[in-house]
């Protein structure tokens, strides 16, 4: 295969990564933006979404699309419920102090991971894609499902953007993010908003996971790498900025796809992590974010 088609393939793969990553990072960024909570357990919500997707899709027989659609609807809902309960039981009682919540979410990470290992097992299990059509390009065939993932992610992002900027719910969320105390004084139930945002963030991660399981398998340790990558995305995009998150996800997804096709993946990860740490050291507001208030 010549260099051009090779690069096209890497770009397509990178876009799939970017699609999943932007959804997940959006969840992380919302939670940080509104609640000022660094959710270390975010990767486990992603993993839980994938594991539940396997469970829902094998529960029903028949055409794979039926099970997949069921998983796509139910799995984010269940994960959102888990996150909601965790927020009410633990995070809300900690008064959202950044250090205490980080420790608590680390605890949550271990609990979810261990429960997945105990009940789901250490095996990686596949979920069948809802359709297996391949688009035949002149140089190689490409899975239509992967293109559908990119489209679904884009739709979801537009949906979230619409909710955030054009609806009452979004207005309440932004008001809480902007000034918690004033929002409360205006009668906004800040506690409920926080719980809702935390659940929404987890649901976004779960949705991303359901999209990815037909491509990667569901495994109890799968949350680790996406968590680091979405941290990277959120930081480069500027903590709490939606547009920055999308741009950074595409940037990171593409460069991850292209770099890991041509270089050793460990080296690529090493350099990426180091560069992002340096960005955070020298430009804490991110490449696209506004200066901290």
């Amino acid at each position: 295969m010549a260099f051009g088609p090779y690069l096209l393939l890497a770009t397509l793969e990178g876009l799939v990564t970017a699609a999943v990553l932007s959804l997940m990072a959006l969840g992380l960024s919302l939670v940080f933006g509104v609640m000022r909570v660094v959710n270390v357990a975010h990767g486990e919500f992603y993993m839980l979404g994938a594991v539940l997707a396997w469970w829902f899709s094998t529960m029903l027989g028949g055409h794979p699309a039926v099970g997949f659609l069921l998983a796509l609807v139910l799995s984010p809902l269940v994960v959102a419920a888990v996150a909601f309960v965790a927020e009410r039981l633990v995070l809300s009682r900690l008064n959202y102090e950044p250090e205490a919540t980080i420790v608590a979410t680390i605890g949550l990470l271990y609990i979810i991971q261990q429960l997945a290992l105990s009940f789901y097992g250490a095996d990686a299990r596949p979920v069948e894609a809802p359709f297996s059509y391949r688009i035949q390009l002149p140089w190689f065939g490409y899975s239509a499902y992967k293109l559908a993932v990119i489209a679904a992610s884009a739709l979801m992002m537009i949906g979230t953007w619409f909710v955030l900027t054009r609806t009452k719910i979004g207005l309440v969320m932004r008001a809480t993010q902007y000034d918690r105390e004033t929002a409360q004084a205006f009668g906004i139930p800040v506690g409920k908003v926080y719980a809702g945002v935390f659940a929404l963030g987890a649901a976004l991660a779960a949705f991303a996971a359901v999209l990815i399981v037909p491509i990667q398998q569901a495994h109890y340790l799968m949350g680790h790498d996406p968590l680091l990558l979405s941290f990277i995305v959120v930081i480069i995009g500027g903590l709490g900025s939606l547009r920055g998150t999308v741009v950074a996800a595409i940037l990171i997804g593409l460069s991850d796809g292209i770099v890991s096709m041509f270089f050793s993946p460990t080296l690529a990860k090493m350099l990426a992590t180091f560069l992002v740490a340096m960005v955070l050291v020298f430009r804490p507001q991110g490449l696209f974010g506004a200066a901290a208030r």
């Binding site: 660094v38 633990v90 420790v103 608590a104 090493m270 992590t273």
Partner: protein
Amino acid sequence: MISLLPRGKTLVLHIGIVLALLALNFILPEYHRGVFSRVLVLAVFAMGYNIAFGYTGLLSLGHAMFFAAGLYGAGLTIYHLDWGVWPAFAMGLAAGLALALLVGALALRTTGVAFMIVTLMFAQVFYLTTLYFTTYTRGEEGLVLRQQARVLAFPGGALDLSDPSTRYLVALTLFTLVLGAVLFLVRAPFGRSLVAIKENEERMRMLGYDVFANKLLSVALSGLVCAASGAAYAVLFGYVGSGFAAIQYSILPLLWVLLGGAATTLGPLIGTLLMFYVIDLASSHTTAHLLVVGLVLIGLILYFPKGIVGTIRERWAPWLP
């Protein structure tokens, strides 16, 4: 005016604990003596972490890299260059100190959440580096140091560090030295200025203290102690693997210190010891020991944010250092 050297109840308590630990060497059954040796070495790691987290208020999520720097600094020089234990141990200390100065100088430009993430990421880079140079480190599988290489040479003779009793006593010696140093530190003006920075950084800056320099020194000292623990681990237990650089080993000292009590001299030991036995007990009943770690973390932060020794100090014994 408080004297720099501990006196009265404090001195009696700390000497008593060291003597009790010494006596345990002759009382404990073989298995538990092994556990205690490990706990003593890792309690040093926790004490090092406590200098940055407990006293200075710097919540780092990357201290595994300092432990691992000591571990690899000592382990690689013994394994590949056939160095003796003394120079290898010194190499471990030097590696940890250099890394801590470098990481501190960069990461301390940030504060709060950003500091946690930056330290996490630097530690991740370190971990990936140990995997990348797998030809030398053998990655997750790790290196096993030969027994003949783990001999502590003295002018008058030599100590075989793989012997259980010697190992315990050497671990206790290191622990006692570090405990003494920390006890001295918390009374020294430097230690007090660290606590003051934790309490109110702005006020310290206004009073004319160089906050950045003090924090950097705190991270350097913390890294040095953690590296001492890592280097001791390598020579005492003869195993060096990249698992010790993974994120879990950055979380564990935080857990130990929180459980025992942040900013207390004895908290790290109590926390490490208790956590070891909780996991030991849990894994004899269930394989789900991570669940226990998770539940303990959440329970602690919800109900005992001050830890065991911290709570004792608050309720009954305000003199505890």
